[in-house]
Symmetry: C2
Subunit: 307 residues, 2 copies
Amino acid sequence: MNEIKIFSPATVANVSCGFDVLGFCLDTIGDEMVIRKTDKKGIHITRIEGYDLPFEAENNVAGVSALALFEDAQPDYGFEIEIYKNIKPGSGIGSSSASAVGSVFGMNELLGQPYNKTQLTNFAMKGEALASQCEHADNIAPAIFGGFTLVKSVAPLEVLQLPTPKDLFAVIIHPQIEVKTSESRAILPKQIPLQDAITQWSNVGSLVHALHTSDYKLLSRSLTDVVVEPHRSKLIPHFDVIRQTALDNGALGCGISGSGPSIFNLCYGHRNAKSVAKAIKKVYSKTGIPFVVYVSKINTEGVKIIG
Amino acid sequence: MNEIKIFSPATVANVSCGFDVLGFCLDTIGDEMVIRKTDKKGIHITRIEGYDLPFEAENNVAGVSALALFEDAQPDYGFEIEIYKNIKPGSGIGSSSASAVGSVFGMNELLGQPYNKTQLTNFAMKGEALASQCEHADNIAPAIFGGFTLVKSVAPLEVLQLPTPKDLFAVIIHPQIEVKTSESRAILPKQIPLQDAITQWSNVGSLVHALHTSDYKLLSRSLTDVVVEPHRSKLIPHFDVIRQTALDNGALGCGISGSGPSIFNLCYGHRNAKSVAKAIKKVYSKTGIPFVVYVSKINTEGVKIIG
């Protein structure tokens, strides 16, 4: 095999209570990439469509993660990468992670799968670091492992695969505004009240329990964020209206996707997800802010070969 | 049925990472109580053995929880309570909770079980509040439900029953020193670093996952407390020596039981629990501080009828 086409999915990090550790994988939104073996050594990005991104490997998220794997594997050939970007950079649904994951996943396949998923996550984190200035895995892990993941620790890297209840669907709304990652980081307090922390870890524990027991009502009661959302939601226009609309229409929960501006909703069943999407669209249309809405089942497979 | 004898177990609250929300139930340590219907209305404590505690119901933990249930049920008879106390008050293994739980569990049986476990927990919390000045359920919930519990919220009360891996044993060491609850509360910071909180909720999530998957190694890696233990361990002489000894002898984890001074260890299998107990005894004997060591399987049944 000399060439492979892959689908690298969008992801939702944090999942309300699980700031910096929880994430899940989306199904209908993602980038496509073609990875090709070449006689010329090194990593060469030969085509980028969708968004204007740098071609130099060392300045491109997909390139940096590819270089990390390449330097470790030291094959006697090189790789060309074509990127067909569908996930808008800065949307808050793991655009850079999808790029970082896609190249290393594709290269691993062409190399005969020498690396496991945790190792691929480590390589992809190098790419992610280019975009976010620090090594995070909360978007990368769900893109690679699929379903819900918990990043137990980053150094050493340990990713837990959590179960995904089968009737769970996500609705994403992406208001097309820019929220700078630096601003969304800076707005967070360095210290938090112990009492809020207790509430948060109680919810993380019950969310994990809810996933294991497919208890959708408990999942709903666990999707609460008393630590990060009160600060970051200020950066997202009409966040409270979206949430109220989603909950009024039967969503299990609503929160900020990653550092925003996208907002995720979790729903029981495809039918409910579609009505929540419809209601949100109706309300957000009135704001005058351009937006996109996606409905997706939870993707339990993660990044995959499509050709 | 006019009289019942019950066993009300000791419990471990917090379980390292789960401050204020997690707990588990012990098997070989607990109080015995006799509850008896009487023509005379009200709650009357007629016998207390083991420790010197007040006989007036309104000043006794078992009496206060009994009164809370009694006032709600309004039966046309009363109850006598005999308390055979084995758990030393102030030991950190749920002495007051055992008393508070025993009376309401016994009365509920004699009344024909009108209340469910969550309602009993609510009554018992009134008794616990007499001892600790605030309504906590992290010792009461495991005593009533058995096994591992997560108190998702106190108001409204919501208790989650977590699975108990079958080969899990606990070793408790109780150094016979006094740690005032007020002091162990006062030593805690009101604010904690966000980064520590993230570490803590990552561990709570992975501990719950480990219990669901009977993953003893993950359980071991999750039994870490970066928030409370660094402060409270100072109040327990030679805590670090105990922990090091336990881990060197194969314990899965070691932490402060409740607000101390008792220390709990979790072990894989009875044989390992016995060697950990032996090693701890040997080390602590050298300190000159009187102590007791218990070995117990995790009690998945909770409070129970024994006669």
